[in-house]
């Protein structure tokens, strides 16, 4: 018993700095944010006392909230679904042997490695209403007569934002699936081929079921990342015009740092926080992390 306690005490110098950093700069901000959501805060950020659920009421009374909630759902589900659907064949392709595969893998990594801000900036420029290359291409192909303001019409802008989100999400997803594919024993596929299974059948019956764990993990991590995604919307439309291309993440930011309503913003952010916590619990389930730590 005594040696056990000693052992626990001995852990402190090794673990404490990491623990302290996480508590002070991750847990405390979370706590501070939740606390703020129940306080009245003036526009320079000074707390005026507790207000109970007043901030949440202000938030719910905001007529822009409901469309933003629906749009966020559409954004998250749409981006994650399309990302997964595209990443499956991409991973399959990157797993096959062909000339230059290593270089192709390197190139596919670029959007994952490059700053999302800068990737979003180039897409904003590609879609520019005056000098954008997309207008030039579409006019030259005869698809449109006049240059268009692609990001000017909110529903259409939303689709472009989602396309960029899919673009930057595919590399990570494809590489997770690629790692999953590598765990599938090749003799299993060989055996299926000997038994005369078509490639579609062996994919459906062997590859896909064995890929499920990787697929689930990739899906949940993507859910969290896409829900949290900020730079794409911020750089390309700033959530505008008005709040018409905002998600809950950019809305929380705008209410706080542009409209200076810190209390209402904190309540929005707290709701976001709870949603992410739910995703994380889901992740812990699908990743069976306990087995991993053993």
């Amino acid at each position: 018993m005594k040696t056990k306690n000693k052992e626990n005490l001995r852990a402190i110098p090794w673990i404490f700095p990491a623990l302290a950093m996480i508590l002070v700069f991750v847990a405390w901000p979370a706590f501070e944010m939740i606390r703020t959501s129940f306080q009245e805060i003036d526009f320079v950020g000074i707390a005026k006392g507790w207000t109970g659920l007043e901030n949440y009421r202000t938030l719910i009374d905001n007529p822009d909230l409901n469309p933003v909630l629906i749009r966020t759902l559409f954004w998250v589900l749409g981006v994650v679904l399309v990302t997964i659907l595209v990443s499956l064949p991409v991973a399959q392709l990157l797993n096959a042997r062909f000339f230059g595969r290593t270089v192709v893998r390197w190139i596919v990594i670029i959007p994952w490695a490059a700053s999302v801000v800068m990737t979003s900036t180039i897409f904003k420029w590609i879609l520019d209403p005056y000098s954008g290359i997309l207008n030039r291409i579409f006019v030259d192909l005869g698809l449109i007569e006049e240059p268009r303001d692609w990001l000017g019409n909110p529903p259409e802008a939303m689709l472009w934002l989602m396309a960029v989100a899919v673009f930057v999400s595919i590399p990570f997803t494809a590489f997770v699936l690629l790692a999953g594919l590598a765990t599938i024993p090749s003799d299993l596929m060989e055996a299926a081929r000997v038994d005369g299974a078509t490639s579609f059948k062996s994919y459906r019956e062997i590859t896909f079921p064995l890929l499920r764990p990787a697929l689930l993990v990739a899906a949940v991590i993507n859910l969290i990342n896409v829900f949290n995604s900020f730079p794409i919307i911020w750089v390309m439309t700033m959530g505008g015009p008005g709040y018409l291309t905002d998600t809950t993440t950019t809305l929380a930011y705008k209410i706080s740092f542009r409209d200076q309503n810190i209390g209402a913003s904190a309540s929005m952010a707290t709701i976001n926080f709870v949603i992410i916590l739910i995703f994380i619990l889901f992740f812990l389930r699908v990743s069976r992390w306990r087995e991993v730590t053993k």
Partner: protein, 285 residues
């Protein structure tokens, strides 16, 4: 954790299948490269050509000197200096804190270990974006707004998780016998760590180092929120702030972006094989 070489390499004949695979592979690469190629092309146009309507596909005059001119036209050197100071400091803090924690967690059992690792994993899943309001209020309280230190501390805290995670699995892969042998030779615990274990864990430390550096280098929301003066802005914030100006010098903006992107992409590719295991908490190997 390593992606194994798939299938056998029996036949290397040029079949119809291998040709069509190669073609689809290279088309895929082209799709992913195109936006960045367009970035490069824009960076190589003179300013008056950038703003022509409609735009040109390739520059009529290739302005290679944009890559030298960019340093005078926009405060690129200042942005890079800020980004380097912030990212390197955060990375050094992360490594020096994550190594002991990961080593101890890999080698010893202690009360609350499961809880500690759970906390670490939860941190990894939280991006600072979701907590930006709390972070801002805390940094205001500490009176650290518009300082490098604020960004260094926040980036260190949020990126610890990945490093602890990946280093733990690296330390676990080193046989305990190696340490026991050193221990018999009379080495103390710290000495064993620095002389025996760390050299064996170099790939893990390099991975943790590069990953943290890139994460800090690419971060945007927190930097946007916590910096207010151009001298403190890192690249991501500094370059995008140029978009707000009345005439955007897209060619210089993208020349600067490429200077920021290229080294990072090369570093990232060098640690690729370890990334998936680290980012999925080892659940996909």
């Amino acid at each position: 954790m390593r992606t194994k070489a798939p299938i056998s390499r029996k036949k290397k004949r040029l079949t119809g299948k291998s040709v069509s695979l190669a073609i689809s592979g290279w088309i895929l690469a082209l799709v992913f490269a195109l936006p960045y190629i367009h970035m490069l092309i824009t960076a190589l146009k003179p300013l008056d050509e950038v703003l022509t309507i409609p735009t040109t596909y390739t520059p009529t005059t290739w302005a290679w000197d944009n890559f030298t001119g960019v340093w005078k036209e926009i405060p690129l050197a200042t942005f890079i200096k800020s980004s380097l100071i912030i990212s390197l400091s955060a990375t050094l803090i992360v490594i020096s804190i994550a190594v002991p924690a990961a080593y101890y967690a890999a080698r010893h059992n202690f009360r609350g270990k499961t809880l500690f690792l759970l906390l670490v994993l939860t941190t990894q899943m939280f991006s600072p974006t979701s907590l930006v309001i709390g972070i801002f209020r805390e940094i205001v309280k500490f009176d650290l707004v518009d300082t490098y230190l604020s960004l260094i501390l926040v980036y260190s805290a949020f990126n610890l998780a990945f490093s602890i995670w990946i280093l733990t699995s690296f330390f676990k892969s080193i046989p305990v016998e190696v340490e026991e042998a050193a221990s018999i030779d009379g080495c103390g615990r710290v000495r064993i760590l620095t002389r025996v274990v760390l050299p064996l864990a170099v790939p893990g430390i390099v991975t943790a180092f590069i990953f943290t550096f890139i994460a800090a280098w690419n971060e945007f929301v927190i930097a946007l929120t916590l910096t207010s003066s151009p001298e403190r802005e890192p690249l991501t914030v500094g370059l995008t702030s140029l978009i707000g100006q009345y005439q955007v010098q897209w060619n210089y903006l993208f020349a600067g972006s490429l200077i920021a992107i290229i080294p990072v992409v090369i570093l990232f590719i060098s640690i690729e094989k370890w990334l998936v295991g680290g980012l999925t908490a080892g659940s996909v190997k």
